[in-house]
């Protein structure tokens, strides 16, 4: 019934709610704090002419209620794997700010989000692997590895990152990925460091798995709790703990195989 004004209004409200939720979902998946996520969704909803009544962001899903006059609608959307992507995060924030100034339709906002998701640049995979290897080796020097272990830690980090990208593309569980990376990276660094006669074998093995250190979720967990979102903060803290437990399992296995104590 196209002449039913309430149903039409609800359909329009639904489209706006889903656009605001999509903005929120992408921001969470890019590693934004909950306060930023809610700001982004609110800017989109207001820019499209409705008032957000309530927003809830959990670790795996989020909900929004929007209102226009007497009509309200509540919708929910699941959230994909949490990661960190600064360039997409800031492109989305810029879009939210643009939408908030008015003058864009829901379809235009959705099309712009599609375009940003497809065209926002990413560093080439080989560069990411090399950069992560170098970061692990630098981390190792900060921890006190000797120069002989620098190369093995670098190669362990490069291999670990390459494995991470390969397994993520295959959709393997992220905690299992953490254990596999830790085993390969620590094993490579440990075996290499032993081969070249390093005296800092244990530190080298630890340094090689530091690509797994969930620094962004760890600090976001605390910030979310400070900002008044303890459930998301707690969920993030638990995910940090889980990553480190699985990573330690991988290191333990590598140490056992190499006979390192």
């Amino acid at each position: 019934m196209t002449d039913d004004p309430v149903r039409l209004k609800h359909r329009q409200l639904e489209k706006i709610a889903m656009a605001a939720l999509r903005m929120a979902r992408v921001l969470v998946e890019c590693g934004a704090r909950v306060r930023v996520v809610h700001q982004g969704a609110t800017l989109v909803a207001r820019g499209l002419g409705v008032e957000p009544v309530g927003l809830r962001t959990g670790y795996a899903s989020q909900e929004i209620t929007v209102r226009s006059g007497a009509n309200t609608i509540t919708r929910m959307m699941t959230i994909g794997p949490h990661g960190v992507n600064h360039r997409l995060d800031h492109a989305m924030r810029a879009l939210a700010a643009r939408v908030s100034k008015g003058g864009m339709t829901v379809d235009e906002v959705e099309a712009e989000m599609d375009r940003l998701a497809k065209t926002t640049p990413r560093h080439p995979l080989w560069l990411v692997a090399l950069a992560v290897g170098m970061a692990c080796a630098a981390f190792g020097r900060l921890l006190g590895i000797d120069w002989l272990a620098f190369g093995p830690v670098f190669f362990g980090g490069v291999l670990g990152q390459a494995l991470r990208m390969f397994l993520h593309r295959r959709g393997v569980n992220s905690y299992v990925v953490a254990a596999a990376i830790a085993f390969v990276a620590a094993g490579t660094a440990g075996a290499g460091a032993r081969l070249v006669g390093s005296t800092t074998l244990n530190l080298a093995m630890m340094a090689a798995i530091l690509l797994l250190v969930p620094g962004v979720p760890a600090t976001n967990a605390q910030t979310d709790i400070m900002d008044g979102y303890p459930s998301m903060g707690s969920a993030r803290a638990v995910s940090v703990l889980m990553v480190m437990i699985f990573a330690t399992c991988g290191v333990w296995l590598a140490e056992t195989l190499l006979g390192v104590h």
């Binding site: 700001q39 960190v84 360039r87 630890m206 760890a218």
Partner: protein
Amino acid sequence: MPPLTFDELHLLHQAFFGAIAAAGFGVLFNVGLRSLAWCAAAGALALGVRTLGQDLQWSLEAASFVAALAASICANVLRRPLGPRGSAVALTGCIPMVPGAFFGQAILGALAVTTPHPENAAVILTAIEYLLRVLFTLAAIGAGLAIPAHLLKHRDF
């Protein structure tokens, strides 16, 4: 100009590798190429301040807190060139201070505690010490990053 002392060399060493580690993590986090230099600078600043603090006999937790505070204040002061990227730059600069190695050693230590015959009480104490250091250092970094951002509220999004 007087020759560099050992401690100055150590400070430079820590700041340099802090910058490399922060820039490396910046690439992993898909930070833009122009912002990578800022991430490296934040990493050098954070590790430099932390090393200075530890040279002054501060605990790791206190030194990490002041280092994160310094990185966050600088990111807020440099709001004009950095824009809303400031908080991300400060955070990336502090990543090399996250005590991931302690975390691993704490869990490995806890595994040693649960063996049928743990060697001695020192194993338990070491595991607990590492775990507490991880918790307090992470909390110190998070608080150091968050406090200036909350005090100097900016309207840009």
